[in-house]
């Protein structure tokens, strides 16, 4: 058997350029398959890490997934706001321990601005119940204070004490609130959640920059100086969403129903976990389609392997006949081809894993900056090993084809190939 190994290796080396191309196509297809799977897993893990300790998210009536997406992930926009009286209603509920309102809609150079109360920093939890921690500076206190997420500070190079102007709406080129600059008072530790990409200001600050605005545009002729805003009533009239924590989680469904039946205003309360499950159901079909496509690409790669080995076989008939003459049996010939197919597949799989790791290492900063998705380098998971095992299994089956063909040829050719 050792002879067959050596022969297979020498023979393959002799055809290394063709086989290298085949190997590359398998490597790329494996990298794609694993990549899709890995991004999927990481995206789910990231999403599930993003909020914990919040029992209900309350907002204007819309779909639960949409409310979840804009309140927690800053994705998409709110269709409607809810009035401040609803916030007070929530705070009046016996079951409610805390309720933190969020007001969204402004941005700074593409990063979303979250107006909230200082209590946000005490109640918000992510991952396995971890609290937000300031890396430097202090928490929100004054009207024009802003606390930056780690990624915002890193990408835009802000330090404590810097000033910045917010933009109305989410576009990069929207009208600026340049007349009322904010001062960076604190920068948060990285969390791996959307908080990293957010700028946090007070609700009063949000009110202040919109004092001289009506309907999304500055009021012509009216100009209220930053120094004078404190003379005005900065109590918000409405907010985008409210994060609610309960004293006792057992009350969650009763409270959810109560909120849904609130007479004064149409409200929606969602459980983050349930909304996420809904979200996975929506994206599950897309994920499966992606996975199916990448599985097909792997199949194409393996079909290429079979085609390459079969095409090479005709030129190798003499070689096989020589081996037969010196004593090789048809089984040796079969093993020779099987080994070659297996070796190319195995190397292709290993190269694919290496390729993916390199790509993720190189692409991780970009992906985090663009989509806030943290791609941590990782060892192969059990699920990935199962995928790789499946690919290897299919490649064994695929290699049986040229192996069987060689077996038949060597039986038919005998010692002299009948070419």
């Amino acid at each position: 058997m050792f002879t067959v190994f050596r022969l297979a290796a020498r023979s393959a080396w002799n055809r290394r350029f063709t086989l290298a191309m085949t190997l590359l196509s398998i490597a790329l297809s494996v990298a794609l398959l694993l990549g899709v799977e890995r991004v999927r897993q990481q995206a789910r893990a990231d999403f599930e890490q993003s909020v914990s300790g919040t029992d209900l998210i309350v907002g204007a009536r819309t779909s639960p997934v949409q409310l979840m997406l804009y309140a927690v992930f800053r994705l998409g926009g709110a269709t409607n706001n809810i009035s401040w009286s609803s916030v007070e209603m929530l705070r009046g509920q016996a079951a409610v321990a805390w309720a933190v309102p969020l007001s969204l809609g402004d941005s700074h150079r593409g990063y979303p601005v979250v107006a909230t109360e200082p209590a946000f920093f005490t109640h918000f939890r992510y991952g396995d119940g971890r609290a937000l921690v300031l890396r430097e500076g202090r928490a929100l206190a004054d009207i024009f204070d802003v606390v930056l997420g780690a990624e915002v500070a890193r990408a835009l190079g802000y330090r404590v004490g810097d000033t910045l102007a917010l933009t109305h709406g989410m576009s990069l080129a929207g009208p600026a609130h340049a007349d009322k600059p904010f001062t960076v008072t604190g920068i948060l530790q990285p969390t791996g959640t959307p908080v990293d990409r957010s700028l946090h200001i007070t609700l009063a600050g949000m009110e202040a920059i919109h004092l001289d605005w009506v309907g999304g545009a500055p009021l012509p002729g009216l100009k209220i100086d930053a120094a004078h805003v404190k003379k005005f009533n900065l109590q918000p009239k409405n907010v985008t969403a409210v994060l609610v924590g309960l004293k006792n989680r057992a009350a969650v469904f009763r409270l959810q129903r109560g909120i849904a039946e609130y007479r004064e205003e149409p409200l929606l309360a969602v459980l983050p976990g349930v909304a996420l499950a809904d979200l996975w159901q929506v994206v599950g079909a897309v994920e499966r389609a992606l996975l199916a496509v990448s599985a097909m690409v792997v199949a194409v790669g393996l079909a290429g392997l079979v085609a390459t080995l079969l095409a090479g076989l005709n030129e190798r008939r003499r070689e096989l006949a020589i081996l037969r003459a010196v004593g090789a049996g048809p089984a040796h010939v079969f093993c020779l081809l099987l080994l070659e197919g297996l070796a190319v597949s195995l190397l292709g799989i290993l190269a694919g894993v290496a390729l993916l790791d390199l790509a993720m290492l190189a692409g991780a900063p970009l992906v985090q900056a663009r989509w806030g998705l943290v791609l941590a380098p990782q060892l192969l998971t059990l699920a990935e090993l199962q995928w790789l095992g499946l690919v290897l299994g299919v490649s064994v089956l695929a290699s049986l084809v040229p192996g069987w063909r060689a077996y038949r040829l060597s039986l038919a050719d005998g010692l002299v190939p009948r070419i």
Partner: protein, 234 residues
């Protein structure tokens, strides 16, 4: 044992719906003889070699090599028997192109314990192969080169070294000289005959070129032996 090879009532056809390719009532090659088997192309030469090597199986009749009936052996045992006892030499393309010359020569030892053992009895296998190559006038500078880089004449001599290594009992040569030019033909034939004489191997030399027959102890004609006549065959 007087005969190295005996055929009896041998019949073979490639497929059931094709006519008989070989129909040989009787053929005997005495042990130690150097037999010239004249066979024009199309007379079923390659088929006969396949039967003698145990690669093909007759439809009827028996092939006995060194007293062993091949039809009594399974296909793996026939492969082993071929590797153990028979050295083959073909017209051309005898070598694995991507293996170095020395590895080509040692190839039979990898598939046959018997020949590996016989080689080892003469010394270090690589050294034995080297001395064979040297005796066939192949310079050491060629030994590590890939077989494909050698001239046709050199390749035939490497193939002869491979057929001889481990001293097989029988050497079957199929037109080994026809790819060589005339003066090389004679030199190669001399090498082949003297090697068989030294090793005491039985030589079955198949060729269409009757002028070569004078160098052999026995001459047979496949056309006369084969009643199937002009069947299609390679």
């Amino acid at each position: 044992m007087t005969d190295a090879i005996t055929l009896h009532d041998l019949r073979f056809r490639w497929r059931r719906d094709l006519p008989l390719c070989l129909d040989i009532p009787q053929l005997a090659v005495p042990a130690g003889a150097r037999v010239f088997l004249h066979g024009p192309s199309g007379s079923g030469k390659s088929t006969l070699l396949g039967l003698l090597g145990g690669v093909l199986v007759p439809e009827q009749g028996s092939v006995t090599v060194l007293g062993q009936s091949l039809s009594a052996l399974g296909s793996r045992a026939r492969d082993r028997f071929r590797a153990d006892h028979i050295g083959f030499l073909f017209q051309q393309f005898n070598l694995i192109p991507y293996l170095p010359v020395i590895d080509n020569v040692l190839l039979p030892c990898r598939f046959s314990h018997r020949r590996a053992g016989r080689t080892a009895a003469q010394g270090e296998p690589v050294a034995v192969a080297q001395s064979l190559l040297e005796a066939l006038d192949l310079s050491p500078s060629l030994w590590q080169r890939d077989a494909a880089s050698l001239s046709v004449g050199q390749q035939q001599r490497v193939a002869l070294a491979r057929a001889l290594i481990g001293s097989p009992d029988i050497l079957i040569a199929d037109e080994p000289t026809s790819a060589l030019d005339a003066d090389r033909q004679q030199a190669f034939l001399d090498l082949l005959l003297s090697a068989c004489e030294q090793g005491g191997a039985t030589l079955l030399f198949v060729s269409h070129d009757q002028r070569l027959a004078t160098h052999f102890t026995h001459t047979l004609s496949l056309a006369a032996l084969n009643r199937a006549g002009s069947a299609e065959a390679a």
